[in-house]
Symmetry: C2
DNA sequence: ATTGATGGATTGTTGAACAATCCAGTTTTT
DNA sequence: AAAAACTGGATTGTTCAACAATCCATCAAT
């Protein structure tokens, strides 16, 4: 249902003739001083990122240039540029002369990803953060509770990601934030296997609550230790779900 | 002297006619099972990365597609793909409809970069590492001493980067390693201003030695604290050299 | 001095072309 | 029959040429 043939195209192009008034994709972030409209390639990348996140494109799947170009009403070269972006984010893998494939995470990659998370998240929480940022962490915890109450499995997963995103955001570092979102995107990629287990995130609710409490109480070192333990356990569980 | 007109091109292309036997650019890493030869776009990106690192392209400089395409004997589209890569690494910035420019680090960025380094490096050193990896750290320290003895200013800078690279490598995480090298590449980008001060790295030699000793002694927490202090001081010095 | 054209340069995107490479299926060889 | 060599088709890698959209500096007009 999420736009398969609607097209991405915005303005020019020899073949273009109609004059639809620029479909409402960019409403909010339009007029930021000097930060300009995303290029078509960017929008293609965004669309693919979305499909990746929603599990429409499963790990290992092949992405054929011409097919996608056609589906999105865009030229092959533009798709190529989008691929370059996504490859930089490790969401797809380019095999020269063979094509690009949705990235697959091996057992080793799981550990690797958690190593990054440990470094970033623990460091961020140990540094504390402004009251507003702490409040954002709290908000994510409550979001998780609400989703649990509503039996909204997907919402629970999202809340969990928001929680960890908010923790990293404590540090207020643009780079740390983007690194974290890339890592989370990578994980989402292969969560689609794990999420079949409905109770997957349930167990984390209490952990998140405890970590948040420690953070709010200013007991940063303890919060860090809790988070670290959490990540270790989470990694183990992940490893169990996947091969080896 | 570093190849300005020699060209990057490898194989095909309508305009190509000669038959030079593939200049010896890829000797060692050629036959790695299934890991294939880099594309032309990749080589263009690599060449630019090099020029960036060597300060041939200074922050803020404009990179015109057609010019570079011509200089490197490559098509504009290929240059474009290379730009996408570099933009993903934050080495260049794309301003829609205006062009790509060598990235410039503002005062805020300096702090941001150091925030990332604190997170990654401290976490890595606190985790310790195998004897070989510790040995690599030691090697970087000695490399620095040798450079100092030889009054090799550039070598000193390199050694320092190797030192910090080796520390991150302790964690044995592919992702952490690439993140670190990207960050270091970013820093190199604007070190060209700072390096005018010949004594810049001198002062760090003793610090590196102390950190390395603590690491070798297995006093990981202390090593982490030392490293943290080091980074804070280094950031302050950086901030002083640059605006505010 | 501000505002408004004008034109040139550069980017964004497309479409078409062709060489290089890979792959699966088929033919040949041993 | 198993292994090796040869197909042809599909897809990628790269180039080129074209044109719309956008920016920018210069100049003109108010």
């Amino acid at each position: 249902m999420t736009s398969s043939e609607s097209g991405i195209r915005g303005r020019s192009g020899t073949a273009h003739s109609g004059s639809e008034p620029a479909a409402g994709l960019m409403s909010g972030a339009a007029a930021r001083l000097r930060i300009a409209a995303p290029s078509v390639a960017d929008r293609v990348a965004a669309e693919l990122r979305l499909q990746l996140a929603q599990g429409m494109l499963l790990p290992g799947a092949r992405l054929t240039e011409s097919t996608i170009a056609e589906q999105l009403g865009v030229s092959r070269n533009t798709v190529r540029e989008a691929f370059a972006e996504l490859a930089g984010e490790r969401l797809v893998i380019r095999q020269p002369n063979r094509g690009v494939f949705v990235a697959t995470l091996e057992a080793g990659d799981v550990h690797d990803v958690y190593t990054v998370r440990r470094a970033i998240e623990v460091s961020a929480i140990r540094g504390g953060g402004s009251p507003e940022r702490v409040a954002a962490v709290r908000a994510a915890v409550e979001e998780g509770k609400a989703a649990a109450a509503a039996n909204d499995e997907e919402g629970l997963g999202n809340a969990n990601q928001h929680f960890h995103g908010a923790i990293v955001a404590l540090a207020g570092s643009r780079r740390l934030n983007t690194i974290m979102s890339q890592v989370l995107a990578e994980m989402r990629l292969f969560f689609h296997k794990a999420t079949v287990d409905a109770h997957f995130y349930r167990g984390y609710l209490a952990d998140n609550e405890k970590i948040c409490l420690a953070l709010e109480a200013g007991e940063l070192d303890r919060a860090g230790d809790l988070l670290l333990a959490y990540l270790d356990r989470s990694e183990k569980k992940q490893g169990a779900v996947h091969g080896k």
